[in-house]
């Protein structure tokens, strides 16, 4: 990519808690972030285990007037944004703010607010509506709050492209910088765990069968996987030009070598999963790298019955010939499906893994599905990893892949 785009920091709010360190240490340890849901009654959806951000207190991280009127999505994303800026050591001068932007991916970010507002409107009438809650119904308002809280005047965008939307956001962010529209971008995503979101996945038949232990609830690539375990979070990767990062002596965690998106028009309205490797190929083409240069694939696999199969088939097709040396991992085995937040979390784990020379484990893998003709580490592994492909895709046929290089 020209100019070179590097990652200088991360802001993380995950099912493991608030902060990058707690996330990374739990991921290395192969911990599960899934637990019974405590913030609402999920019995109507089979009381599934989910990756809730427990005991979330945004006021401990951010100072923002009117915080109490923000919905959970906005609170999660503002917290992660502040953490990202701090982690990257971004000095937001007057001038820098005019060249700094935000891009968020979200699946159902404003659904809870929209439906609460709408149900209130229908049951209690127009006069009962709170004007301050109306903005929460609009999906690009959380990104707007980030720009307000931090005074960012570059641009703000919110994208929606299935479960890979966090990666799609990072791709858009990189391209905004390449095209000279910003010098730094907070790129990532958010989704909050609410009954409205849970019901969507439940009604669509996508959730894992009820289980009391994380193992059955979230087992990507496992032969007996039964579906997705939902989670929430907010995450950002701070993207900058290499020149800017180097000039200010920033820590560089990784470099974005290529991005690609693709769509399979046959996937969404049919039942028969086919290989979903289009985004992977597109990312390789964009980076100019060969499949053999990729050391590790951070898969988007989340335990979805057809989604995982489509991804496995995609990996096999794209990396044909180099599969024996390829390592694959599924971070969501530990975090659950964090939806919009997943992308930047995967990037964070990839960068920190490359820096420390480790591959985190994929947990809950009792027996690999026959389609998974590649190595999946089930324990933390020391490995010299220089290039990671980070993937996300789902049943809709949408997919985005990014290639990150070690610094």
């Amino acid at each position: 990519m020209k100019p070179r785009i590097v990652i200088t920091g991360f802001g993380v709010v995950s099912p493991f808690g608030v902060g990058k360190q707690v996330f990374w240490s739990k991921v290395k340890a192969g911990a599960s972030g899934l637990k019974p849901i405590s913030t609402f009654d999920a019995s109507g959806c089979g009381s599934p285990l989910a990756g809730e951000v427990e005991d979330f207190r945004p006021e401990q991280v951010i100072k923002y007037k009117g915080l109490s009127f923000l919905d959970r999505t906005s609170k999660l994303v503002c917290t992660a944004a502040q953490l990202a800026v701090d982690d990257a050591g971004l000095e937001l001068t007057r001038e820098a703010k005019t060249r700094t932007g935000v891009v968020l991916g979200t699946t159902h970010g404003s659904l809870h607010s929209f439906s609460t507002f709408d149900r209130g409107l229908m049951t209690k009438g127009f006069a009962s509506i709170s004007p301050l809650l109306f903005p929460n119904t609009v999906p690009n308002v959380p990104a707007g709050h980030v720009t307000l809280m931090l005074g960012l005047e570059g641009f703000s965008s919110t994208v929606s492209s299935g479960l890979s939307n966090g990666l799609a956001a990072v791709k858009l962010a990189a391209q905004m910088i390449v095209n000279g529209r910003a010098r730094a971008v907070l790129a990532g995503g958010v989704d909050s765990l609410t009954l409205e979101t849970l019901v969507q996945f439940y009604a669509a038949g996508l959730l894992a069968k009820p289980a009391t232990d994380g193992a059955a609830a979230c087992s990507p690539f496992d032969k007996d996987r039964s579906g997705i375990s939902l989670a929430e979070g907010a995450s950002f990767a701070v993207l900058e030009t290499y020149e800017q990062a180097a000039a200010r002596g920033a820590t560089i965690h990784g470099e974005i070598l290529g991005c690609g998106s693709a769509f399979d028009p046959k996937a969404v309205y049919r039942l028969n999963p086919e290989a979903n490797g289009g985004a992977m190929s597109a990312a390789l083409e964009n980076s100019g790298l060969s499949p053999g240069s990729i050391d590790f694939v951070s898969a988007g696999a989340n335990g979805g019955v057809s989604g995982d199969k489509m991804e496995a088939l995609g990996i096999k097709a794209v990396f044909k010939g180099v599969l024996p040396r390829l390592k694959v991992g599924a971070m969501k085995s530990m975090t659950g499906e964090c939806q919009g937040a997943s992308g930047a979390l995967q990037i964070c784990a990839a960068c920190l893994g490359m820096q420390e020379g480790v591959i985190p484990p994929t947990i809950n893998l009792r027996e690999k599905d026959a389609d998974c003709d590649f190595e999946i580490a089930t324990e933390l592994q020391k490995a010299n990893i220089n290039t990671v492909m980070v993937c996300g895709s789902d049943n809709s046929g949408l997919g985005t892949s990014l290639i990150i290089g070690k610094q």
Binding site: K65, G66, L67, S68, F69, A127, S128, S130, P131, L132
Partner: protein
């Protein structure tokens, strides 16, 4: 009157994310306390629901201090009370 003033001060504090001690009877909500138009609308909605009155957009302009809001609410409640006595 004092109870009404206290109720309104408490609403202003909640909507504006402020401490009640910052809100004097005549403190200018927009200029001194930096409350904005969206918060003013939220206050309007709360007052309407709490006191069962209707406040027009023109009357919104009188939301300049606690005392002025108290005055407006008393007028509108008085009108309500009057219309109930037929």
């Amino acid at each position: 009157m004092e109870t009404l003033k206290a109720e309104i001060r408490s609403m202003v504090a909640r909507v504006g994310d402020l401490k009640e001690a910052e809100i004097g009877d005549d403190t200018d909500l927009a200029n001194d306390l930096r409350m904005d138009s969206l918060q003013a609308l939220e206050l309007l909605a709360e007052l309407e629901n709490h006191f069962q009155i209707e406040i027009s957009e023109e009357q919104l302009r009188r939301f300049t201090s606690v005392n002025n809001i108290v005055g407006l609410v008393e007028e509108l409640c008085g009108q309500n009370a009057a219309s109930m006595v037929q």
